[in-house]
């Protein structure tokens, strides 16, 4: 007994140095790892389990149903296909519009013009505005007989009843969301633009390249890592849109703006089917994962100077 204690004491003394380093390292990452386990992995595992159950939020009743939720989703749910289509349409409308606008704004806002700071502030202001206030104001502006349509009427255009006509409602929420968030992407682009040495552009000018050619052949390629990053963030962000939809349209009219996250909320908290909502949430998780992996794979080909 005594002997083994002495022995183990010796061993641990020997290991102390390397162990101390390792322990120190673990201690530093522990908060992050614990947080991840508790707040990300735990709920994720719970959602996976919930998705195989028929759970009712109101009654608390739980029955195991295996893959029934997924079968219902793919075969019998009258809204799933529509909701998936809406989610794709929202992202497909939002991402190019957001990126193009952010890039153009970044190029304009990095020009050395007096008073440019005012414009930079103006375009960034919506980012720090509360989404609730933003949505309420835009819902007001998009009324059938007031707001934007009053301005359109001045130039002889009879505007649609934006939020009550299915196609226009999608356009309206995309527009409100882009204007809300474009400032952040603009800021990232501006930071990246300022890192591009001016010499390249100057040299190209001397060789006779015009502005468009300089943007196309110098700025865009050197900016491509940033564009990829912003694309990824914006695309995944667009899959997660909820608050604006909830506040502007409630997913309507006729489900025209009912996107996946809103639909998850509808199933979980309005008709209390938490099991089915969990299955939907896993689909969303899968979609975001696939997109992320796909982007990492293609970035090598598309991004300049990427190995």
């Amino acid at each position: 007994m005594v002997g083994s204690r002495v022995l183990s004491g010796k061993v641990s003394n020997k290991l102390t140095l390397s162990w101390r380093d390792a322990l120190m390292g673990y201690a530093f990452v522990a908060p992050q790892i614990l947080g991840f386990l508790l707040l990300v992995l735990g709920p994720l595992v719970a959602v996976i389990i919930f998705s195989t159950q028929d759970r009712n939020l109101l009654s608390g009743a739980v029955t195991n149903v295996g893959l029934e939720n997924y079968r219902f989703m793919l075969n019998d749910d009258p809204f799933f296909t529509k909701v998936l289509g809406n989610t794709v349409a929202f992202s497909a409308g939002l991402v190019p519009f957001n990126l193009a606008l952010a890039l153009v704004l970044a190029l304009l806002l990095t020009q050395p013009v007096p008073g440019i700071v005012i414009f930079r502030t103006l375009f960034f202001a919506p980012v720090i505005t509360s989404t609730v206030a933003w949505a309420v104001v835009w819902r007001f502006l998009f009324q059938g007989e007031a707001g934007i349509n009053s301005f359109l009427a001045l130039i002889g255009i009879d505007g649609p009843n934006w939020l009550r006509e299915p196609h226009w409602a999608m356009v309206a929420v995309i527009f409100a969301q882009v204007i809300k968030n474009v400032g952040l992407n603009t800021l990232i682009f501006m930071a990246a633009l300022q890192n591009i040495p001016k010499d390249y552009s100057d040299a190209a000018s001397v060789d006779g390249a015009n502005l468009l050619q300089r943007v196309r052949h110098i700025t865009i390629p050197l900016l491509s890592p940033t564009i990829m990053l912003v694309l990824m963030l914006t695309l995944i962000g667009s899959l997660k849109v909820f608050d604006l939809i909830m506040l502007m349209t409630n997913g309507g009219p006729a489900n025209a703006t009912n996107v996946l996250v809103y639909y998850i909320y509808f199933r979980a908290f309005q008709v209390f089917q938490t099991g089915y909502a969990s299955a939907l949430a896993l689909i969303l998780f899968g979609a975001a994962l696939v997109i992320t992996i796909a982007q990492w794979v293609v970035r090598r080909r598309l991004v300049y100077n990427e190995r």
Binding site: N56, L57, L58, S59, G60, A61, P78, F79, F142, Q143, G144, E145, A146, N161, W162, L163, R164, E165, N250, G252, P253, A254, N255, F266, F269, Q270, V271, F272
Partner: protein, 428 residues
């Protein structure tokens, strides 16, 4: 091992004590009572708070806390809270959610508490009013508000447009939906104001209060959303005629606030709306003359539609104070409690309903109107349509009804789609 033994011994000591403590009636209890009126709403200040204060004075160990949850988020908030650690103990439930909550088993059966006390006089509640809240002998809630939906009109605008007011028309049996449509159009043409907005300014399925307009219309034409045995009848000929009238008011006459726009009656910009008695407090500062009348009638005759809210005690998995909650529910709904509540909420207790005090109880409404408009509607009325899957029916059905609110919608086809969509939820 020693530690484990000590732990087990400790647990053995503490657990029975804890059980004993819970059973003791003079242990401190905090009851959280939820409703969807703001804490500074006159009904909360003048009625609920004084009743709670009186109850707390009688039961010093009980603390009552009122908790405000907005109407639009009410059910989902309650459902979420019931599954958490601090569930509400008692509160209001609106008629359309009653069956869903009963079906989920989260409402406490109050029959024992209420029926065992003769002084409470349970039999005093009108049987038709109790329909939604009883299953066989079980009692899951007491409808403290049995409030008919009534016509509220802006007399100033009617005078300006040179029209007879709805109360006058009603006395002659001429206050019909056709008359409402025609008056709304004249008001719009003559004054430039809005002719009609729906119950609580809602018509287009965004707030959950739209049925207060649509159900009275359907019933005036002899139809409804669905029958008690779960057949959708919104596609019937009568329903199509009724909804076509409304559709024409919105898109042909353009006398109704259009979809996507927001107008409230209380500001004086609207000729006619529907609402319940408790909403009249919105008119305290009105700068126009107003009046009330029964709901418009239709081919199926006179119609009275009642919106109910009940006081319930919750019985979710995490509720602990059921007995105390049931006792407070009982206290609120005794003859005296209902008598106080009747200032804002028309009662389902016959002794209160038929008392001269009730007819004189509302400072905003004359005794004559209380008799002819409110009491008469309660006597003849039927409650708004409901179902145990109503939340689902409402939200899934909105998909079709949303399509109705566009100028070129085909009413019959849209209502047919509605019935197809909600059929699975109706039968579940």
């Amino acid at each position: 091992m020693k530690k484990l033994v000590i732990l087990v011994l400790l647990a053995a000591l503490i657990l029975p004590a804890a059980n004993f403590a819970a059973a003791q009636s003079d242990e401190p209890v905090t009851l959280r009572f939820t409703f969807w009126i703001a804490l500074d709403h006159p009904a909360a200040v003048e009625v609920f708070q004084p009743l709670a204060d009186a109850y707390m004075a009688e039961h010093p160990n009980v603390t009552i806390e009122f908790s405000f949850i907005p109407f639009a988020d009410y059910e989902e908030t309650i459902a979420t809270q019931l599954s958490g650690d601090e569930p509400p103990d008692a509160g209001w439930i609106v008629e359309k959610s009653g069956p869903a909550f009963e079906d989920a088993g989260v409402l406490l059966d109050l029959s024992e508490t209420l029926k065992s006390d003769e002084a409470y006089n349970y039999a005093d509640f009108s049987e038709s009013a109790m329909g939604l809240w009883t299953v066989d002998d079980a009692v899951y809630g007491i409808p403290f508000s049995n409030s008919p939906i009534i016509t509220i009109f802006n007399k100033t605008l009617f005078d300006e447009a040179g029209l007879d007011t709805p109360d006058v028309l009603s006395a002659n049996g001429e206050w019909t939906w056709e008359a409402l449509a025609s008056a709304a159009k004249t008001i719009k043409d003559e004054t430039g104001k809005v002719g009609f907005v729906g119950n609580d300014s809602s018509l287009y399925l965004t707030t959950g209060l739209e049925w207060g307009t649509i159900v009275p219309l359907l019933r005036a034409y002899g139809a409804d959303m669905f029958t008690p045995d779960n057949v959708c009848t919104l596609n019937s000929e009568e329903a199509v005629t009724a909804m076509t009238l409304l559709h024409n008011m919105i898109f042909v006459d353009q006398s109704v606030t259009p979809p996507g726009s927001e107008t409230v009656f209380w500001g004086g910009e609207v000729g006619v709306t529907f609402g319940q008695l408790s909403r009249l407090s919105n008119l305290d500062d009105a700068e126009f003359e107003w009046g009330i009348a029964p709901l418009p009638s239709g081919p199926a005759g006179d119609v009275s539609v009642i919106g109910q809210a009940a006081i319930v005690a919750f019985n979710g998995a995490n509720n602990k104070n059921q007995a105390a909650a049931a006792d407070f529910v009982k206290y609120l709904t005794t003859q005296e409690g209902i008598g106080m509540l009747s200032k804002y909420f028309p009662p389902a207790r016959l002794s209160v309903l038929e008392s001269p005090e009730f007819l004189a109880s509302n400072p905003r409404v004359s005794e004559e109107d209380m008799q002819n408009v409110v009491a008469a509607a309660i006597a003849n009325g039927s409650v708004l349509t409901s179902h145990k899957n109503f939340p689902e029916i409402e939200l899934i059905g909105a998909t079709a009804l949303d399509m109705l609110w566009s100028p070129d919608a085909d009413v019959a086809t849209t209502l047919e789609t509605y019935c197809q969509l909600i059929a699975p939820s109706l039968e579940k």
